[in-house]
């Protein structure tokens, strides 16, 4: 569904993405992990068209996305820190997104489960970080997109809401959607993801399915498997 071909991106002298290629398919739930500054966010932003890659092509459903914007109606994006015009109310933000998307098939599950209706008259600047994240999450799922890109989705959410969100992700996965998650909380990913991409220095260190990963390392937790791999690397 998404295909990256030899993507490179430099920010001045810093190489954020280095000749990176990747294929993601519908029905996959991919965890994108790696140390800080490894290029995860840049990769996501490239897919979203927020960052324009220096070299290489990105295909979405087979179409090159450069100079295109329509493809983004198939993507729901939840940023790491959602910032909204501070004088707008929750209701207005959601209203604005609805007007921008002009989508008729709305998925209001999260809207109901997070009880955001009660907060519709609250201004964005009065919301706590967690509540803002709830708004972001709701917006990402609201338009029933084929692809979900979630940047640190559970950071800042209370355990209850975090659970709600995970349930939602699982449900969407079952519908055969492509889900891309970055997270530092590896323990949270266990039940969710089918594949794992580990990035380092703008490159993909490995891209494996969870089964393969666990089999190779003999561990049953993702976090342990990864630390195993990283340790063995260091020994080599």
């Amino acid at each position: 569904m998404i295909e990256l071909k030899n993507i490179s991106k430099n920010f001045g002298k810093l190489t954020a993405l280095d000749n990176l290629s990747l294929q993601c398919h519908a029905g996959e739930c991919i965890a994108l992990i790696g140390p800080n500054g490894c290029g995860k966010t840049t990769l996501i932003k490239c897919i979203l068209g927020i960052v324009l890659p220096g070299k290489g092509d990105i295909l979405f459903k087979g179409e090159n996305i450069s100079n295109s914007f329509q493809y983004r109606e198939h993507i729901g994006y939840m940023p790491q820190i959602g910032r909204y015009p501070e004088n707008m109310t929750v209701g207005q933000v959601i209203e604005m997104m609805k007007e921008i998307r002009k989508s008729s098939a709305l998925d209001e599950d999260l809207l109901n489960q997070f009880k955001l209706y009660a907060l519709f008259d609250k201004k964005m600047r009065t919301l706590s970080g967690g509540t803002t994240q709830k708004v972001s999450a709701t917006l990402a799922f609201l338009f029933n997109p084929d692809v979900l890109i979630l940047d640190e989705p559970t950071a800042g959410l209370d355990p209850l809401s975090s659970e709600v969100l995970k349930e939602k992700i699982l449900a969407e996965k079952k519908k055969g959607k492509l889900i891309l998650i970055t997270s530092h909380l590896l323990s949270e990913l266990d039940d969710l993801v089918t594949q794992l991409i580990y990035m380092q220095d703008g490159k993909i260190r490995f891209h494996k399915s969870i089964e393969a990963l666990k089999r190779d390392t003999g561990q049953d937790k993702i976090s342990r498997s990864i630390s195993m791999i990283l340790k063995s690397d260091r020994h080599e």
Binding site: F69, Y77, I100
Partner: protein
């Protein structure tokens, strides 16, 4: 596009700084016009407001607003909208709000107290000056990702256009006073939107002195309808050009 304009206006009009700006303009204009028995002093104060305060507030507020809404712009970018639409939406939204603030704050007392010709001219130039300095703010906001640097550039540009430029012309004039540099001076003045705005208002405000000179090139130029049209076109160009360059940059920009 209009969706974004609507929401930006909605957001800015509730912004505390814009409310304070409107309030200060209103208090200032109403008080100078109602306290002074002749309107000339009030007009002079408003002239300085238009030439100094309006551009300063516009440029700084727009720059800060740009940086503060970086994440919001990012969010918009992840939606199926053209970059151009986002940028123009922001620009039109912001300009409309600031012009509205200016009209409510200073425009209404101007129209009530000032002679019609001067009042309309000041209102028109004030609105254009707001738009021009928002466009300049947009340009400095895309020039650097560093908020402090961006605000710095904006303030420097304001300083240059509002204060230094005329000093420079004055200096040139003294240096080359033996040469026929009248035409050059008109040309150079027209290149600075604030000098141009000032001269346009001056032609109304000090009409007896300004229109008195025959043979003086600026009367022949600015005093005619054609000159007026050219002047306003230049001011509009001063809005379009910085905005256009900022748009070109924004289209290629990583956020």
């Amino acid at each position: 596009m209009n969706r974004i304009i609507k929401f930006v206006i909605l957001d800015i009009l509730k912004n505390r700084i814009v409310l304070i700006y409107t309030l200060i303009l209103a208090v200032l204009s109403w008080s100078i016009f109602s306290l002074e028995d002749n309107s000339t002093k009030g007009l002079l104060t408003l002239l300085n407001v238009i030439l100094l305060i309006v551009p300063l507030v516009s440029v700084i507020f727009a720059t800060i607003y740009q940086y503060n809404s970086a994440e919001f712009i990012e969010l918009l970018l992840s939606q199926p909208i053209r970059r151009k639409k986002i940028w123009s939406g922001l620009f039109v939204g912001m300009t409309t709000s600031m012009i509205l603030a200016f009209i409510i704050g200073a425009g209404i007392p101007l129209l009530i107290y000032a002679p019609a010709g001067i009042g309309l001219m000041m209102l028109g130039t004030g609105c254009l000056v707001s738009a021009i300095f928002i466009a300049i703010a947009f340009l400095s906001a895309v020039l650097t990702r560093d908020k402090a640097k961006g605000i710095g550039i904006s303030i420097m540009l304001w300083l240059f256009f509002a204060l230094l430029y005329d000093g420079l012309i004055l200096f040139l004039m003294f240096q080359f006073s033996d040469y026929p540099i009248e035409k050059a001076m008109v040309g150079i003045s027209a290149l600075n939107p604030l000098s141009l705005a000032r001269i346009l208002i001056l032609l109304r405000l000090d009409v007896s002195a300004m229109m008195g000179y025959t043979g003086a090139i600026f009367k022949d130029f600015f005093g005619t309808t054609t000159g007026l049209l050219i002047s306003f076109s230049l001011l509009i160009l001063w809005t379009i050009l910085p905005y256009y360059f900022s748009l070109l940059r924004f289209k290629r920009m990583d956020l």
